[in-house]
Symmetry: D2
Subunit: 156 residues, 4 copies
């Protein structure tokens, strides 16, 4: 069963900031885009309407450690690993690497909960992950999830 | 010495997504805007040119836990606390609360390192926090930093 | 009857790009934020749910001419003028000026059509502007709309 | 000589807004990304450092007419045509079409001026388009540029 996915994309101009590098908030958008492409690769949409219901995956938490900057027109590979599948939520890990030389750029995680959008109130109501999805997603082997600290030389 | 700052703003339409709530990546932009307003309140710019040098604060890590959604036109207060001041880096905590009723919406953190932008190479080179800044920023008392886990009822 | 509105805001870091200036797409977000603040000033929300309906104002067209760059932490005033009120649409003009010296930075326009969001199909269906809104908005006097070309010294 | 380019991409979640459609400002980012991919296809970067200089293409004007909404996961083709090459500036036209059925979604234009970034002042100084670029770009035949109004049924 699938537990990983890789997306490769090129940094766009609008993603940079005046420091000449990709704005840190955009790493979260790249993680999310990879998660959504992973879902599409399984035949799902992350946000789907069926039988009058809209089911989505609001985020519970997200984090990112930044190792090196990404710049305009850099090609970056975002490597998603499913870290955990719970009753109502999934946790993903992401590693960003430059395509040119494989150097690690950043490492992050997102936890998302399966939820139904109540159209009258606009509320997001958590629900158990549908079997059709659960059957297709599994956690990666723990040796792949390697939770080693990435910032060995942390700022002091 | 200052160790906290509050910024109040209203959610803009472009910050929402098709789930009808503020996109999770925008909480990181709001944290950053609050950090920058904190710097301005001390008489600094977070990104300053002086004597031919540009000094900035690239992010080392960032995280956010999402408790409740924010919606269009909601007024939100972002409460910054300085969590730690190190030789070359500062760590901040942020709590997001709705202005109307004070309910906590999200809680996050950013660690940023002081760096010089090398204009010929474009590299960011970490450097010790200038005394002029260090003299004005201190860590908040530990009892304020309350590192309790916010998601006691984590998704299961 | 109101035909103008002014919003003042400060340029945020995430709005800049690697050229060190506000990314051109963000001027459109600033125009929209001003339009929405104008609506709030009249007691409306630009996107409102009432009696099970959601009414919004999708854009029909938008344009902007850029005269000078805006930079991080610049304070800018966005001056909205109602250019035309039609049966189902409103056209706005916007002038961006630096607060410090009043120099014109950019000039743009947005035409938006009143529409109802059909929740089952997700379609936006144009409808006549509700009287409650029409009664409060009028076009600015033509002498204020001054449609002079702003780029007299166009690039050659 | 090249005068056109096509880019195909899929709408990402973060590009949508609470109306369930792509936020209008993101069409400008898509136009720009297509322009930059066009430059790359010619062997250039739109923002390049050479001999201590940084040359970019700040925008002089931009506009877009919106015909139909784009939604999450829609595949869209952005068709760039070079509309005019002047001494110091280039004007592009763009047509957005859904990949699934070819329906036109939007139509826009960008005029960009060639400029040198002065690193000490941060100013953008217009300059003549370098021959190396001029030799590779030409205006599309006028019959392709078809400036027919696209909104025959304009909102009334």
């Amino acid at each position: 069963m699938p537990y990983e996915f890789k997306l490769t994309r090129r940094v766009e101009f609008a993603e940079t900031d005046m420091a000449g590098i990709v704005h840190f908030s955009n790493f979260f958008r790249m993680m999310e885009s990879t998660e959504h492409a992973f879902f599409r690769s399984l035949g799902f949409s992350i946000h789907r309407h069926s039988e009058g219901e809209t089911i989505g995956w609001p985020r519970v938490s997200a984090n990112c450690d930044y190792v090196r900057p990404l710049r305009f027109e850099d090609e970056v590979e975002i490597h998603l690993l499913v870290a955990e599948v719970r009753t109502r939520s999934i946790r993903y890990q992401f590693v960003f690497r430059k395509v040119t030389d494989g150097t690690e750029v950043a490492r992050g995680a997102i936890a998302a909960v399966c939820a139904r959008l109540d159209k009258t109130t606009g509320r997001l109501i958590p629900l158990s992950i549908p079997d059709s999805i659960r059957e297709k997603i599994t956690a990666a082997p723990s040796e792949l999830l390697g939770l080693r600290p990435i910032l060995t030389a942390s700022p002091s």
